[in-house]
Symmetry: C2
Subunit: 222 residues, 2 copies
């Protein structure tokens, strides 16, 4: 007679690597944040400014996901931080296996925080766990205020929303963008989401985001 | 003895529907354009303005693809044009089968041109033929000038590139955007691509795009 084990969840290949990554990060007590947005929302600019302005407080490394080129990894390296570029070729999101390989190339022991900058895409990356502690979503004001309603999944799953390019709002060139609608639609999907209004270009609003990050790193270490 | 036919291409389910759509459109001599871009590049605003300003010259219908909501179809219908909304739920691109169904709900015989506004995504929609005559790609200036290099496939496959939101360039709020780089990188990928610099918000540059469309409709009918 055979015994069939029930109750054991069969994991997909991606989930298996996500679990492996999560264990590795937990062992080292490192915070890992998966950054998701449309192309051109300003993810790399946000990360570069964050790395520069938190120097001395947080040691940050970055895994960069792009379909093609290492433009973003070069920008991160220009800050002095370690960055590993993954090119997905035709794939529209990072996989946990790719992140597992990239983690081997980062000096994890020397870092407090690892950002994974996913492929610019508001749909697919939200469906693939990478082993991160948290996802965050970036929305540029230039993309319009209907994006939480039209692409709800990532807003529902994210621990924080960064509304970037508030400098364009203040320049008066985006009359139709209703920031209250973005915040209210996001909170309908996710009542606990932290929301930061920032301009990674001129630095406005970034200090609240930095405080939030420093606190989150602290909570992982303790 | 069995004979094995070789040389017959086995089509995927998506390709079968794409062929079906292509035959239907050819039978009716209708132009169909698949519009692809990141979220928030201004696709719906471009289509609404185009429909309004070409009234009396071209009769236009729209198939709207979105993950969620019928916000875009409502905007198109406000112009008086027929629009069919497809909600892909979690899917990151339109399929030819979805378009086949939507075509049944459009008054094809009464139209000259059908736009398919794909899900906002610069990666996945470029891999799925819908039976269209041409793809076009929209890039908003706010997304940055590195997008043809970072997301080359759709720029290589498109018959035209619309560089939208030139009003932001003229307002002087996007100092880093090099339009020459966008054009040169796009032409490296696709030497024949037609490029239009437009502002769907204030109408600047739209007339060249309209002339191109009217000519293309004419070439299908003749």
């Amino acid at each position: 007679m055979y015994k069939v084990k029930v109750g054991k969840k069969i994991l997909s290949a991606n989930e298996e690597f996500a679990v492996k990554n999560r264990k590795l990060l937990a062992k080292h007590k490192k915070l890992c944040i998966n950054v998701i947005s449309s192309p051109g929302s300003g993810k790399t600019t946000i990360l570069s400014r964050t790395i520069n302005e938190l120097k001395g407080k947080l040691r940050i490394g970055v895994i960069e996901g792009d379909v093609q080129t290492d433009i973003d990894a070069q920008k991160i390296r220009a800050t002095g931080a370690p960055a590993v570029q993954i090119n997905t070729e035709s794939a529209c999101h990072l996989s946990a296996a790719q992140v597992s390989n990239a983690l081997k190339d980062l000096p994890i022991g020397d870092l407090d925080l690892i950002f994974i900058e996913n492929v610019g895409n508001l749909v697919c990356p939200s469906a693939f766990e990478l082993g991160e502690n948290a996802k965050i979503v970036v929305l540029s004001t230039a993309e319009g205020d209907d994006k939480p309603a039209k692409y709800p999944v990532i807003f529902a799953k994210s621990k924080a929303l960064l509304i970037n390019k508030t400098d364009l709002l203040k320049a008066g060139v985006l009359e139709d963008f209703n920031i209250k609608r973005v915040k209210s639609d996001s909170r309908k999907l996710n009542k606990d989401i932290a929301i930061f209004e920032i301009s990674a270009k001129n630095g406005e609003g970034m200090s609240n985001w930095y405080d939030w990050l420093v606190n989150l790193v602290g909570s992982i270490k303790s």
